[in-house]
Amino acid sequence: MDFKENMISSFMAFEDHVDVENPIHDIRTEAIKQFEKEHLPSKKNEFWKYTSLNPYFKKQYSVYPKLESALEFKDVKKYFIHEIDSYKIVFVDGVYSSYLSQTTHEGLDVCLMSAALTKPKYRLVIENYFNKVAPKDSLNSLNTAFSREGAFINIPKGKVVDKPIQILHFSTGNEANLLVQPRNLIVAGENSHVQIIERHQSLTDNEVLTNGVTEIFAKKRAIVDYYKIQNDRLNASLIDNTFISQKEQSHVSVHTFSLGGKLTRNNLQFFHEGERLDSTLKGITLIGDKQHVDHSTLVHHAQPNCESHQDYKGIYADHSTGVFNGRIIVEKEAQKTNGFQQNNNILIDDTATINAKPQLEIFADDVKCSHGCTIGQLDDEALLYLRSRGIPKKEATALLMYAFSNSVLDSVKIPELKNRINKLIAMKLGVSLGFDL
């Protein structure tokens, strides 16, 4: 059975477990039809030129775990930013774990997609927002077709959320070839403020594949800070699709820390639906060991007086491959756009590869757009300077790499998270330096 057939027959089985009378199911049915129609991503598609999913399409997947896996908090504590108080929405193999979660909330909704899709009180939000910003391509449609579980966060007007929300997806690998497809929806009301930390973590060495979709809506003057920690094992692959719709004067930032995983694809797209807003896309990629990270970004400037800032740093070693495909589209109406894009890469050795492709499509005439892309090695002079002060080569190299990616960490607003990322980076670099100043 090829992948499409595999998915379509899984869909029929899936229908036995969901309420087919729910209007949502019409959307799912549409989506599976769309999936059937669309080509699977392949190298012929310019946005998949450097990332091949072919090996994944050769396997047979199940879309729901047959067994429920329970985890002990102490075994997974280290994957949380546990130093701070936070809301926690936790999934194990795509199934909500109420035991590990902590969602008691007041004045906002921190809950589950399964609840949002079925409870009448959420019907309006779902009608207005669900599947409204995600494009209808093959993998998004696949996710939509199987959408049932994920995080649902609804922040009312004016609410400043008192603590960060952590969304954790654990994979146990207890079941071979499980395709997990979380579906998240985040609606930040006018003048609201929310910080979200998301992490995917596999717990064993079995192969796992995730195809996730997150839709984020930021209304007028809302502030959304989203952090993605991708520091997974060598057997875990993630296709992450995040789509953001912004209204006027909103500020949305997404920081993506891609520090591990077999294959990671970050499809991150911003759509502007109001004036004087800004979008920030930042990322640090630090990989080796034949790993593959693909950042495919889009900022769609469709309104005047908006800003976007993209800053991606990549450090690649040991047969790893990076892809940066950064797009900025500026529509005719989007006068006075400021669109910046920066992508700097260091190749540690000559077995590593980076494919960097900035794309600017500008149809307005009064805009400021710039992009800079560099690929280089570490600065030998700087290395000598540090070493001559007694800092050994490995530590000096680490310090320079850290410094290189520092502009991305600078804007992380949760100190404990920043600290954690610092530690993860130090660990990756094999040094025990505390980059904490």
């Binding site: 300077y385 540090l386 070493r387 800092i391 080569k393 990616s405 100043l437």
Partner: protein, 250 residues
């Protein structure tokens, strides 16, 4: 402390040092002068362990040990310090973080415990004060956007923090205004002890009025062609290098 014997060094097959002999004993201050391109910075780089240069003949002994095979950091751990003629800008690493790392890595290599945070802070405060360095300066990225003089002052700050046995100051005076020159020279003098030594590379006699050398050497075309006392510097200031060049014309 330092003994250089018939040192020949090349970069990309081009011989730059052509037989240097120099001995520096504890407690001494040596000055090396010489025209542009004569090999002064090359000599200091070779001592510090810059791997771009290849020693083709001769040897460098430091405290009796041939250091040719030692990495730059190992030389630093043994107490060799080079104040760079052109300090490198390192965006994203603050002066303080850099200094902390350098000190603790050095201590680690010497089998010592990490320096306690309050002790570190105290040291940083003291040395910054001695060199009249604004504390705010220390949280800035290392050398990034520093003025020429600020970079040089920062080099001496690092020297003060690391307290080396052998310090080589490559044109630390260039770029310093008169007041800064006095402050920096005064800093160097305060670090001077009977068991450490300083090699000052300079083009100007002025610095040597503050850091008074026991010996002055003239480096010309990769060789030390003349050595003398501090009066040699005065002579050079007055007459330039032509007369020495003539003496040594091939």
């Amino acid at each position: 402390m330092l003994k250089i014997e018939n040192l020949h060094a090349s970069v990309e097959d081009k011989e730059i040092l052509k037989g240097i002999n120099l001995e520096v004993k504890p407690g001494e201050v040596h000055a090396i002068m010489g025209p542009n391109g004569s090999g002064k910075s090359t000599l200091s780089s070779v001592i510090a362990g810059n791997e771009d240069f290849e020693i083709t003949k001769g040897a460098i002994y430091y405290e009796g040990e041939n250091i040719e095979e030692l990495a730059p950091e190992e030389r630093a751990h043994k107490g060799i310090f080079l104040s760079f003629q052109y300090p490198v800008e390192i965006p994203g690493v603050s002066v303080t973080n850099f200094m902390k790392t350098a000190i603790n890595e050095t201590r680690k290599a010497r089998g010592m415990e990490e320096m306690r945070a309050n002790e570190m802070l105290k040291q940083i405060r003291e040395k910054a004060e001695m060199l009249d360095i604004d504390r705010k300066f220390l949280s800035r990225s290392l050398n990034e956007g520093f003025s020429g003089g600020e970079k040089k002052r920062n080099e001496i700050f690092q020297m003060a923090m690391l307290d080396p046995k052998l310090a080589i100051l490559d044109e630390t005076d260039s770029g310093l205004d008169i007041d800064a020159l006095k402050i920096v020279a005064n800093g160097v003098n305060r670090l001077k002890r009977a068991d450490n030594a300083v090699v000052v590379i300079t083009h100007y006699q002025r610095l040597l009025e503050y850091i008074v050398p026991d010996y002055v050497h003239v480096l010309l075309n990769g060789k030390i062609v003349k050595s003398g006392g501090k009066e040699l510097a005065l002579q050079l200031e007055e007459k330039g290098y032509d007369w020495i060049k003539q003496e040594h014309a091939v």
